[in-house]
C-alpha cells in the first residue's frame, strides 16, 4: 500500500467533546453546538469566524454540510459531510487534516456527531438503499457478527472457551474501571466480573456488558498547519500518521478467512506505522484508543495492531498488559465500552483522550509522559470492514 503521509505537517490545537450518554433533552444540533463551543472557548486565539472550512462526520443524524452550518449559523463556509460506517468521526478528521496539509485551508474543524437515542430501539439502526433482501447484514446484528470472533479464536489457537470468556470479561471490566474515572463517559461505575458474566445474552456468548454503550454525543478538533500551531496553544498535538483502508469484503466469501483477524486493520496499521516511523509499536506507543465495539474485538485488535503475538492477546489481556498501569494502556478513557459509541463522534473522542493525556489533563487516568498515541476506528464487521489508524504525538520530529 502506497501513501505519502503528512507526518508533522498539521497539528490539533483545540478539541471539544460532550459527555456521551442518553441525552434525552439534547438534539444533534445542541450536541454540535456544545462540542464546537467548548473547543473554541478553549482556543481563545482563534475565533469562530476564523475557521476556514469544516468536515462533519455523522452516520445518520443528518445529511449534507447543512447538518452543521444550519445549527451553528455559519457564514457561508465550506462544510463537507462524510460517512464511513463507525469510522465516520475518524474520516472527518482525516479529510480535514488533508485539507490543511494540501494548503487549501489554514484552519479547519473536524466535527463528529451522533444522536442514537431518538429511535426508540436499542442498538444501531441501519439505513440501507433498496435491495433484494438477501444481504446477511440485514438480518444479523452487529453483536452477532462480532460474536463470531470468539469461537473462531478459541478454535484457531486452542484456547479454552472458559479462558476466552475470562479475557472478554477482563476487557469489559478494565474499560468500565477506566470509564469510572472519566467525567464524560456514559457509564461511570466499575462493574464486577461476576456481574459482567451474569448479564443477559445478546448474541453468541456476548452479554450486555460485552457490548459498547449506545449513546448520543459530539466531539471536534481544530486543525492548523504545524508551523502555526504554537500561535493557538502551547501544547499542540501533531499528526504523525493517518491511514484508512476499505476492505474488499473478501472474508465473507472466502473459506480461507478464519474470523480471528481483521486484514483491514493489519493493513491500515502497517501504513500508519510506516508514515509515523514506528518500527516497534509495543515499545513506541504510549497509549492506544481502539475500537472495542465488543469485547472479543479488543482482544483480536491487540494482535492486528501488533501489541501482542498471534494467539497470545488473550493471555496479555489477563496479565493486565493493557490496563492503566500496564505496559501499553488501551482505552484509558473507557473506550466505546464505557465512554459510549455515538458513531460519528467516536473517532474524534479517541483523539480527545490522546489530546488530554498529552496535555496532562486526564485527571485520575493520567499516564506518565505519553509520547505517542494511537487511535483505531473500525466500521463494518469481520469479513468486510473499513479500518482507520492514526498516530499522534505532542512533539515534532
Amino acid at each position: 500500500m502506497s501513501s505519502n503521509g503528512i507526518r508533522d505537517r498539521v497539528a490539533v490545537v483545540g478539541m471539544g467533546c460532550t459527555r456521551f450518554g442518553e441525552h434525552w433533552d439534547r438534539s444533534a444540533d445542541d450536541l454540535l453546538l456544545d462540542a464546537t463551543r467548548e473547543c473554541l472557548a478553549a482556543t481563545p486565539a482563534l475565533a469562530a469566524e476564523d475557521v476556514d472550512a469544516y468536515w462533519l462526520g455523522t452516520l445518520g443524524s443528518g445529511q449534507s454540510g447543512m447538518t452543521l452550518s444550519r445549527p451553528l449559523s455559519l457564514d457561508y463556509k465550506p462544510v463537507t459531510r462524510v460517512e464511513n460506517y463507525c469510522a465516520t468521526g475518524s474520516e472527518a478528521f482525516r479529510n480535514a487534516c488533508y485539507a490543511v496539509a494540501s494548503g487549501a485551508y489554514d484552519r479547519v474543524m473536524a466535527v463528529g456527531v451522533e444522536k442514537l437515542k431518538d429511535s426508540g430501539f436499542s442498538g444501531l439502526l441501519r439505513s440501507d438503499p433498496p435491495g433484494d433482501g438477501t444481504a446477511p447484514e440485514l438480518s444479523l446484528t452487529a453483536p452477532a457478527a462480532f460474536s463470531l470472533l470468539d469461537p473462531a479464536y478459541c478454535d484457531r489457537y486452542g484456547v479454552e472457551p472458559a479462558a476466552m470468556r475470562e479475557a472478554m470479561t477482563h476487557v469489559a471490566w478494565k474499560n468500565h474501571a477506566n470509564g469510572a474515572l472519566n467525567p464524560k463517559a456514559q457509564f461511570r461505575s466499575a462493574v464486577s466480573k461476576e456481574k459482567i458474566e451474569r448479564a443477559p445474552l445478546v448474541a453468541g456468548r456476548l452479554g450486555v456488558f460485552d457490548c459498547s454503550g449506545v449513546s448520543d454525543g459530539a466531539a471536534c478538533a481544530l486543525i492548523v498547519r504545524a508551523e502555526d500551531a504554537l500561535r493557538y496553544t502551547d501544547r499542540p498535538m501533531y499528526v504523525k500518521g493517518l491511514s484508512l483502508v476499505a476492505g474488499p469484503a473478501r472474508g465473507a466469501m472466502d473459506p480461507g478467512y478464519d474470523y480471528t483477524t481483521f486484514p483491514e486493520v493489519v493493513r491500515s496499521a502497517a501504513d500508519a506505522y510506516r508514515q509515523a516511523g514506528i518500527s516497534d509499536p509495543r515499545s513506541q506507543i504510549s497509549l492506544a484508543e481502539v475500537h472495542d465495539c465488543f469485547t472479543p474485538t479488543e482482544v483480536v485488535l491487540m494482535e492486528d495492531l501488533g501489541f501482542a503475538e498471534r494467539g497470545q492477546a488473550w493471555k496479555d489481556v489477563l496479565d493486565g498488559a493493557f490496563q492503566l498501569d500496564g505496559r501499553l494502556p488501551v482505552n484509558p478513557d473507557g473506550g466505546l465500552k464505557s465512554f459510549g459509541h455515538p458513531v460519528g463522534a467516536s473517532g474524534l473522542r479517541m483523539l480527545y483522550e490522546c489530546w488530554l493525556q498529552f496535555r496532562a489533563e486526564a485527571g485520575e487516568r493520567q499516564l506518565a509522559d505519553p509520547t505517542l498515541g494511537l487511535t483505531h476506528n473500525l466500521g463494518g464487521r469481520p469479513g468486510g470492514c473499513v479500518s482507520f489508524v492514526s498516530v499522534v504525538g505532542p512533539d515534532l520530529g
Binding site: 438477501t134 452477532a144 448474541a203
Partner: protein, 468 residues
Amino acid sequence: MNPSPYGIVSYAAYLPRHRLQPEELGTALGIKAGRGARIAASFDEDSTTMGVEAAHRALPGHGAPDALYFATTSPAYLDKTNAAALHAALGLPHDAFAADLAGSARSGIAALRAAWRGGGLAVLSDVRTGRPGSADERDGGDGAAAFLFGDAGSAVAEILAHTSATAEFLDRWRVPENRAGEQWEERFGLERYLPLIEDVGQRALKAAGAGQADHVVLVSPNSAVRKRATKVFSARLSAGGSPIGHAGTADAGLALADALDRAGADETILLLSAADGCDAVLLRTTDRLPAARQPEPVAQQLAGGRDVPYATYLTWRGWLDREPPRRPEPERPAGPPSARGRGWKFAFTGSRCQRCAFVHLPPARVCKECAAVDAMTPVALAGARGTVATYTVDRLAYSPSPPLIDAVVDFDGGGRCTLEIADGAADQLAVGTRVEPVFRRLHTAQGVHNYFWKVRTTKEASVDGSTA
C-alpha cells in the same frame, strides 16, 4: 385405452420437519386433541417454498419441464403468479409456462390433469391452518408433492383413466378474507360424496377394462369421508387415505406419492379425490418404478421431525400476537434489485471465476482472488452441501421467530456465505455440521414476501465424524 401420451417420470413429496403433539395442544386448550402428531410448516415456509422443495427433489436427473402447474389453497400472493417464484427458484428456462391453480383442494387434481395432458411439472402444496382447537388445526397437515410428467415410454407410472363428477353443495368453504375455513355438518357431505366416489371409481375401472385396483387411495376435505377412506372402495392389495390428514391440494399428491412409494411394478393405483364432486385417476406402475422412487419415502419423512411448542405454532400462524424484539422491522425487498438478482435470490446461483475458480456468493463481476473482470460462470448451489465454519445465535435481531441463528457456510467445491439456519435449534449446531440450502421466506414486510435461501442440517456425519 391410455388417455395420455405422458406418464409420471419422477415424483417427490416434502413434509416439513416440525410436529405439533396432540397432548401439547390438548393441555393448552383443555380439550381432547386426538392422536398423532400434526405436520407443521415452519414460520418461514409457505406453499411456494414447500413446493420448491418438493420439486427440487423430483427434478434432478430429468430435463427441465416446459410447463409448471402450481396448485394451492393457501397462495402466498394473489394477483401475482406464485408459480413464477417456483419457476425462478427451480431455474427453469424462460420460455416455460408457469401458472397457479388456486382455491380449493380440487385444484390439485387440475394441476395433475394439466400436466399429464400436455407434459410438465405439477406441484401441489399447502399450509393448512384453522382456529385454535379446530379440526383443521388438529387433523390437517402441511406438505407438498411434485410430479413430473414426461414421455410415457420412460414413465414410472402411466395414466390409464380419469373420470370426473361435479356437484355443487355446501361442505367446506372459506371466504377469501378469512384464514380459517368452515365445514357444514360432516354427515351431509358424506351422504353426497359416497355415491360420487362409487360412480367415478367404477367408471374409471371400466374405462381401463380393470375389475379391481391393486391399490386404492381416497382423500377428501370432508372428515367423515376420510374416516372411511379404507372402507369405501375395495382394493386387491391396499386401501388407504391421506398420509398426514387433510392437506388441501397436497392431499391427493401426498397420497399418490405414498402409494408410489409402496406399490410394486405393474400394479394399478386408483386415486380418488372427493372435493366438490369427485375425481378418479387410475394409474399403472411400470417396471421402472422400483429403481426410481423418490429419495425419501413419505413414511420415512413422517417418522422424522422435531416438536414445536403449541404457543410457538400459534405465533407462527398469526393466532397469537406476541411481543416482537425491540428492533425495527425490515424493509420490503425492492422490485428492481430483486428482478436483477433473481438468479441469486431465487435460484441461489453465484459466480465462479473462469481464471482462478474462486466462487462468489453472491455473484460478483470482479474476482476477489485474481481481480479478473467479467470473466465469470454462473454456479448453481441450490443442490450443494456445505459445512458450518462458525455460527452465532442473535438474540437482538428481528426475526418472525427469534432468536435468529446464522452460520458461515463453506460449500463443497468452493464458495462461502453467511446464511440463516432453518428448522434448527443451536444445540444441533457445531463447527463442522453438514448443511444443505433450502428455499424459505425470510420475512414479510409491507406485504412483500422476502424469499431467499437458508441452510438446514443434513443427516450426514459432520466433518469431525460425529452425526448431526
